[in-house]
């Protein structure tokens, strides 16, 4: 079993003819992702990396029965493309772009809820079912099958930690990037629920950061509903309040979202928080043992 996606998942690439779209289509195909089509208005009939291009998502879904879609669309046009995917019946929507306006993100999430679709991102590296299906932009080589589920708010930091796991010969079941924006689709709890149900996932790594209350809510969920061990790493211990640390969501405002409150909540839920990214594998090993 795998969560959200697997080697059969029929994936579409929106914005496939752009630089990023075509490059990552190649990378995803190399990883083994079942990419069935691309969408690029006005470019229907072309091919990118052997993948047929359509003018609209409706056309692509009609012809290719796509279930998932990944967006490489500039932020000002991302809402339209996302709503199109949802209306056309896409059930897993991965929003790569950053700088999508907040109000647009809320509009997208409202429609996703209506259509009962899963949205990953925006401002995410995507998600990967290790060894089976990658819908995202992360470097292929670090995502090898194993017993650990990983869920993260940030990108490169997640690669860093997964890299440490790989060095320690620990592979992953699924790795999900929630995205660094203030309004994103999936949250920690959604993914933790899936990991809890997934028999292949034995231990979970949660990579959080300052700002918002997602980690505190995750801690409450872990305490009440999770039987599997969770290990965490949190970025932003040294960040001053009132400053956005790169991510829109990574800001300590009005005394909320501090590193300390998150660590406290996670510790209270029995979650060990690593003090350095490189310490995560050790903690995971103690849980797997």
């Amino acid at each position: 079993m795998s969560i959200y996606i697997n080697d059969k998942t029929r994936v579409l690439v929106q914005g496939i003819t752009g630089n990023q779209g075509s490059f990552h289509t190649g990378q995803m195909l190399k990883y083994g992702t079942n990419i069935v089509g691309g969408v690029s208005p006005g470019k229907g009939g072309q091919e990118v990396e052997g993948v047929p291009v359509y003018n609209t998502v409706f056309e692509a879904v009609e012809n290719e029965q796509a279930e998932a879609s990944i967006l490489f669309i500039p932020a000002p046009f991302a809402k339209d493309a996302a709503l199109e995917a949802l209306a056309a019946g896409i059930k897993i929507l991965v929003l790569i772009p950053e700088h999508i306006p907040l109000q647009d993100a809320m509009d997208i999430m409202a429609q996703a809820k209506r259509h009962e679709a899963v949205v990953v991102g925006p401002n995410t590296f995507g998600l990967v079912s290790s060894g089976a299906c990658k819908i995202g932009i992360m470097p292929n080589q670090y995502f090898v099958p194993g017993p650990v589920g990983v869920v993260s708010r940030s990108g490169t930091l997640c690669y860093e930690i997964v890299g440490h796991l790989t060095e320690s010969k620990i592979g992953t079941t699924t790795v999900v990037g929630l995205g660094g924006d203030r309004v994103v689709g999936l949250d920690f709890i959604d993914v933790l629920e899936q990991f809890e149900k997934d028999p292949e996932t034995k231990t979970v790594v949660l990579v959080g950061e300052i700002g918002g209350s997602a980690e505190e809510e995750a801690a409450a969920y872990i305490k009440s509903s999770m039987s599997k061990p969770v290990v965490a790493y949190l970025a932003g211990k040294s960040a001053p309040p009132g400053k956005r640390m790169g991510h829109a969501g990574a800001i300590i405002e009005r005394g909320r979202g501090t590193f300390e409150s998150k660590v406290e909540a996670l510790n209270a839920a029995g979650v060990d928080v690593a003090d350095l990214p490189g310490k995560v594998p050790e903690l995971v090993k103690t849980k797997l043992a």
Binding site: Q103, M138, P139, G155, T156, S238, P277
Partner: protein, 369 residues
């Protein structure tokens, strides 16, 4: 982007929300003129820092002379590191009750949320949880009368005051949505004999949506380096330590700062130069960093879409053209790692494999400097 109070109030007024009569002034003389028109006035420094009142940035005057004297004082005041170019001189309103009202974005429910409390005037974090009504607004429905009635019921508001809210809240919501606001806070919202009046205005516009609001002014209450970083589209935050840090990705940059602190150093900045930057942009990011006069430079690259050779090449170019002589600790792994290392080795730099090594080395360099 935070709007100055007077700009927020202009926006409010455009949406039919009542604000006190007022004038924006640029010198103390104008304060006297404004006071002679408005009578008893309140004079407010137009800076973006919170707690402006406690710091002395708000003053009252009952004559033009007094207004001029107070304005003069406030113009000289430094508040949160900035002095005000403009003051807002407003009629003093007769306040019967102070209310808190705001619209903001709640990431947990992924919706705009109304915050309302009869404990107005207090800092929002000081209002007890159970006295602060939170109402998430479904964007597919918008602000409807029933929501206002229910918010009022939960606040314990009835009758005429409820009618005032029924008029006000849909206007505030429209303003919030149409202007891509992240926050629209009125504190205090003053109940006066003439109805509800927005006595203050804190409006923040979503930076990512500014492109569709050409009509809004651009506020630049930032340091020179922060402004430069904004131009270059870099995520940059000035800190007060000694090790300049550059990395790719917000999370890993934060983690790098944390690790600098962990090993006893102090970071001079947060600089995430993003993913997939080219030589030009990488060079500009590096030049920006050197402008802070750090004692050590720490570069932490885990290349995904970012190519190691591009970063190394940019570093060598800037080093040569600007003559960088400060100690450097470089971590370089990922896409085109071998090519990148080769470029660095030619100039005598051996890149580290791990973030840990690179950061602890940077701290050693600092201690040795």
């Amino acid at each position: 982007m935070k709007l100055y109070e007077h700009l927020g109030k202009e926006l409010f007024a455009r949406y039919g929300i009542t604000v006190p009569a007022g004038r924006v002034i640029e010198n103390a003389g104008q304060a006297a003129e404004a006071a002679s028109e408005l009578g008893e006035v309140v004079i407010k420094s137009q800076v973006l820092t919170g707690k402006r009142g406690k710091a002395g940035g708000i003053s009252f005057a009952s004559s033009p002379e007094e207004a001029e004297a107070e304005a003069e004082k406030i113009f000289k005041m430094e508040l949160g590191g900035f002095t005000a170019d403009k003051l807002l001189v407003e009629e003093k309103i007769q306040i019967e009750q102070e209310i808190y009202l705001a619209l903001t974005v709640d990431g947990t429910v992924r919706k705009p949320v109304v915050l309302a409390s009869l404990d107005g005037g207090m800092d929002v974090e000081d209002v007890p949880e159970d006295r602060m009504i939170r109402w998430p607004v479904d964007v597919t429905v918008g602000m409807q009368g029933y929501m206002v009635r229910e918010i009022c019921r939960q606040m314990g508001v009835k009758g005429d005051l409820q009618k005032e809210f029924l008029k006000l809240l849909p206007k505030l919501y429209k303003m919030f949505r149409e202007n891509d606001a992240e926050l629209a806070e009125i504190n205090p919202l003053a109940l006066t004999p003439q109805g509800l009046v927005a006595a203050d205005a804190k409006v923040t516009i979503d930076d990512d949506a500014l492109y569709r609001h050409k009509e809004l002014p651009r506020i630049k209450e930032k340091t020179a380096l922060e402004l430069k970083a904004e131009e270059l589209d870099l995520a940059y935050v000035e800190l007060d330590g000694e090790i300049a840090v550059m990395a790719n990705g917000a999370g890993i940059t934060m983690a790098t700062l944390d690790m600098v602190q962990h090993y006893g150093g102090s970071p001079a900045n947060f600089l995430d130069f993003g993913g997939g930057a080219n030589i030009e942009k990488t060079s500009q990011a590096l030049e920006l960093l050197l402008g802070t006069n750090p004692k050590v430079l720490l570069i932490n690259i885990f290349g995904g879409i970012t190519r190691c050779d591009v970063v190394a090449e940019a570093f060598v170019r800037v080093r040569e053209s600007k003559g960088i002589d400060l100690p450097v600790s470089f971590r370089l792994v990922g896409t085109n790692e071998a090519e990148g290392r080769e470029i660095l080795e030619k100039v005598g730099i051996k890149a580290f494999n791990s973030m840990d090594e690179a950061v602890s080395h940077a701290v050693e360099l600092l201690n040795a400097s």
